[in-house]
């Protein structure tokens, strides 16, 4: 058999392809030639380093993987400030592959906070001082002034007297503002089911509600609805999906 140089012997060791005779030669060099020993040991350290660092990375990925239907453990992980900044940068839309390899931990609360903004009043424009202070106006003034508790009560009263569908939509947003996401969910669902005019908006807020409640799978389901049509928040939905996947 052809004689191997030292480098080939080391390669052969890692490939597991050395013959008995070559193994003896390897052992002999290892004992007598310090350069050979150093070369080999560096490569062995490299191998260990690559293996261990990958394991560490994989365990991080697994620790941040949500298991559906398992509710006893909260999956919320608190991000360090620089990770928050990083996640905002990621929202701009690096490819999902890159996100996958460098991705910070999913923090649903943080993602929620960076995506949620109350929907503006588009159904009942208010010109202050001129209009009658009817119930609807009072409700939307409260909403626009961020007096959400008051707004909710007015929307509720209004809803009893008036069957405009959008009332429950704004009531739901007000509930979200007050951190009552569980109560907001059925309102948004029923508004969507009724095919309200602001349906796509409602889907977005329902997705955010699920996010806040840490129901990631349900959240993704709603986001997918938005991501597959061109319109309201399509891009935001895609970006958020990329974050969650």
């Amino acid at each position: 058999m052809q004689r191997m140089d030292n480098e080939e012997l080391i390669n052969g060791y890692f490939e597991g392809s050395l013959s008995e005779e070559q193994k003896r030669e390897f052992d002999h060099l290892f004992e007598t030639n310090p350069d050979f020993k150093t070369d080999f040991e560096f490569q062995e350290e490299l191998k260990r380093a690559l293996v261990k660092s990958e394991r560490k990375q994989l365990k991080q990925i697994l620790s941040n993987t949500n298991v559906p239907q398992e509710k006893e453990k909260s999956q919320v992980i608190h991000l360090r400030p620089w990770l928050v900044a990083a996640s905002l940068v990621l929202l701009v839309g690096i490819s999902s592959w890159l996100i996958f390899f460098n991705r910070p931990d999913i923090d649903s609360q943080q993602l929620y906070a960076s995506n949620f903004a109350p929907y503006e009043n588009v159904v009942h424009p208010i010109e202050r001082g001129e209009q009658l202070e009817d119930l609807k106006t009072r409700a939307f003034i409260a909403y626009e002034n961020e007096s959400y508790q008051q707004a909710i009560e007015l929307f509720k009263t209004l809803n009893d007297k008036n069957n405009d569908k959008y009332i429950i939509f704004y009531e739901a947003i007000s509930l979200m503002q007050l951190n009552k996401h569980r109560e907001a969910t059925p309102l948004l669902e029923s508004y969507i089911e009724d095919n309200g005019e602001l349906k796509d908006r409602a889907i977005w807020y329902l997705a955010l509600t699920y996010l806040k409640l840490n129901k990631i799978e349900e959240c993704k389901e709603q986001l997918n609805l938005l991501a597959h049509r061109e319109g309201f928040k399509t891009k935001a939905a895609k970006n958020l999906l990329a974050e969650l996947n």
């Binding site: 350290e45 490299l46 380093a49 690559l50 660092s53 365990k59 697994l62 949500n66 298991v67 398992e70």
Partner: protein
């Protein structure tokens, strides 16, 4: 989830395959393993380690002709680790138990005992990340995936084995220089 599909995804280093296994078997594994211990942190750790063993053995082709289901393999790995933890040798054989060969046991023990990269290894990794794409690829294929130089040649479309050999040698040299320059 089809076992062979997951194994081939793992061979491509597709991390989604690991997530799928994690999501697919976690609840069942915890139920299965709860008869040995009720320490859920320990179980979480062992379950993740078992998935990594599955992954590493898939990566190096050891599961190409897997004789059991993936689930049996995974659960047996977990059980092996639990017994190791409690030094409990009774009740080794049950229907869930897969018979590992020596090289598989080496991987299980290695994953089980892994405390993470030491300082020097971390330094190597930091410098490894500074290498060019081609270098990182060739070194990962050789040292991490365990491909032979000849296999790298055909996978990556190099002209001949010597080109791969000298490319790898150059990459290794740069990495060594980077790592040791910082020492001085």
């Amino acid at each position: 989830m089809k076992d062979q599909h997951i194994i081939s995804q793992m061979k491509q280093r597709d991390r989604n395959a690991l997530k799928e296994v994690y999501k697919g078997y976690k609840i069942e594994f915890f139920k299965f393993a709860s008869r040995y211990t009720s320490d859920t942190d320990l179980l979480e750790d062992i379950f993740q380690d078992a998935i990594i063993v599955l992954y590493e053995n898939a990566l190096t082709g050891k599961l190409d002709e897997l004789k059991s289901s993936l689930k049996t393999y995974l659960f047996s790995t977990g059980k092996f680790m639990i017994f190791k933890k409690f030094r409990d040798t009774k009740e080794i054989a049950t229907d869930e138990t897969y018979i590992f060969d020596q090289s598989e046991i080496v991987v299980i023990n290695d994953v089980y005992e892994d405390q993470g990269p030491n300082e020097y290894q971390q330094k190597i990794i930091e410098n490894f990340k500074k290498l060019g794409d081609k270098c990182r690829e060739i070194l990962e294929l050789f040292y991490l995936k365990g491909l032979k130089l000849e296999e790298i040649m055909s996978v990556q479309g190099y002209e001949n084995k010597n080109v791969v050999k000298s490319q790898k040698s150059r990459c290794l040299k740069s990495l060594k220089e980077l790592t040791h320059a910082k020492n001085g």
